[in-house]
Amino acid sequence: MGKTISEKIFSNHSGNSVKAGDIVVAKVDALMGQDGTAPLAIKVFEELGGKMTIDNNKVLLVLDHSAPPPNEGVANLHKLMRDFAEKYRTQLSEIGEGVCHQVFMERGLALPGSLIIGADSHTCTYGVLNCFATGVGSSELASAMYTGKLWFKVPETVKIILRGKLRKGITAKDVILYLVGFFKADGLTYKAIEFDGELIRELSIDGRATITNMVVEMGAKAGIMPFDEKTKGFFREIGIDIEEGISSDKDANFSEVYDFDLSNLEPQVALPHQVDNVFPISSVDRIKIQEAFLGTCTNGRLEDLRVSAELLKGKKVAKGVRMIVAPASKKIYLQALKEGLIEIFLSAGAIVVNPGCGPCVGTHQGVPADGENVISTANRNFKGRMGNNKAFIYLASPLTVTASAIRGEITNPLEVMD
């Protein structure tokens, strides 16, 4: 019997030929912790005796969730991380460098065929680069630094084939919101997903990453994209030559195969307070919004900023709406500056904040008031998520968020597009 990508990666990293359902101890290639999870990992690591077994160059600590620090508590935890990175000579991503997942990929730490853990649930994003990447807790992060390994259950794999061509005004975010609505928040719990099909092949790496980012919203352990010329191009751009990726055998055993034709997909919106509460925009009321947020590890990439700026050019953010833009990394921010995108945002009345996670996770830089409605490109709309449990969060694509910011109410981007 052939193997899935996950079975191949866990076989390569455990030294045994394994199949779905097996419990294995596997070597970890690289790992990541952010300022919400790394401080606890550091505490646990020290309790274990503070011996680093894993290659310190493959450990990345990122200051992004609450950065720059809004209070002394956070500042002290940041200091703890800096001191740790200095002591053990790990990689550190300073304030303003970007959201952990974007920085991790830009630094070439997520390589095809590798096994990666990160103390952040959206670590599954790196599957876009044809690796197995999954979220863990702080103790597991510490244990992997200490032993170089972690135990895993080899997941069953679900194959999702996406066909068709997306219509004008529809983006990768609409695709993943549709899938989350279809499978529901626990529909693929403990599973790995392999994506394929012409629709996926047509998408850029930025678009594909939006999809892998949100597989955890269906409970999945990992979401893996095929390796192709676009993947190669991503690595070439960051100075790494990689010719081959990893793919499933023809006779691999998938627990289920789904085939979707999304040619007629319309913009999707997730209504408060559940990510899987997804509806096509034609059946969503024209709800007035007070805040529009473009950014996060889901949709703060260059392509997202480009489509938003293109739509916003020559127009204004509606009176009474705060539009907040957070590029996912400094690299993206600089490129957006070069391309004139930042000027478009500012001229239209948007606010551009430093790369990071603040508004999405509700620590600072965009906390809504009681009773306010927010439309956001983030991956979660839980009650209280943005720091106020009396606010309402709607999730949508960068285009829908921008169109809604222009009109001041939830709006189909086609109504605003030229």
Partner: protein, 166 residues
């Protein structure tokens, strides 16, 4: 490993943001202080309703969302001895075991708020003492998880074993 306590019943899809809001977890590593905010966004002052040893009971997909290990730690520090749910989100499930908080998938329809629950983790048995019925366990814990729990969590397990042992 035997636990007995009063059930506090919650519904489906209780996420980690509800368990402990992001605005608290970034500030400190003081879990006793954070425990006062346990589930407050959906149940104000829940912390005050807990007697040490009580059991948290929920529907499906408990602990979905973030990877924050603060979530099971805060539940534990609030005095909860175990969590029973129809299903758990993957990262939360692992985190709970790693911090020494027993979690089990079972038919929680048989448990109502306030029922007295008896749980034998090693034998894999749950009884609703108030209703005098056995609660069906959907899937027992893998052996490595039982070993970690027996040691009181991942840190103690690794201190003893030195490495992961299957």
């Amino acid at each position: 490993m035997i636990f007995e306590g009063k059930a506090h019943k919650f519904g489906d899809d209780i996420n980690t943001d509800y368990i402990i809001s992001g605005k608290y977890k970034f500030k400190s590593l003081d879990f006793n202080e954070m425990a006062k905010h346990l589930l407050e966004d959906i149940y104000p002052n829940f912390y005050e309703k807990i007697t040490k040893g009580d059991i948290l009971v929920a529907g499906k997909n408990f602990g979905c969302g973030s990877s924050r290990e603060q979530a099971p730690l805060v539940i534990k520090h609030a005095g909860i001895s175990a969590v029973l749910a129809k299903s758990f989100a993957r990262i939360f499930f692992r985190n709970s075991i790693n911090v020494g908080l027993p979690v089990l998938e079972c038919n929680t329809d048989l448990i109502e708020d306030g029922d007295l629950i008896y749980l034998d983790l090693i034998k894999g048995e749950i009884y609703n003492k108030s209703k005098n019925i056995k609660v069906e366990i959907f899937s027992p814990l893998p052996e490595i998880m039982v070993k970690i729990l027996k040691e009181g969590g991942l840190v103690e397990y690794l201190k003893k074993e030195g490495d992961f042992k299957l």
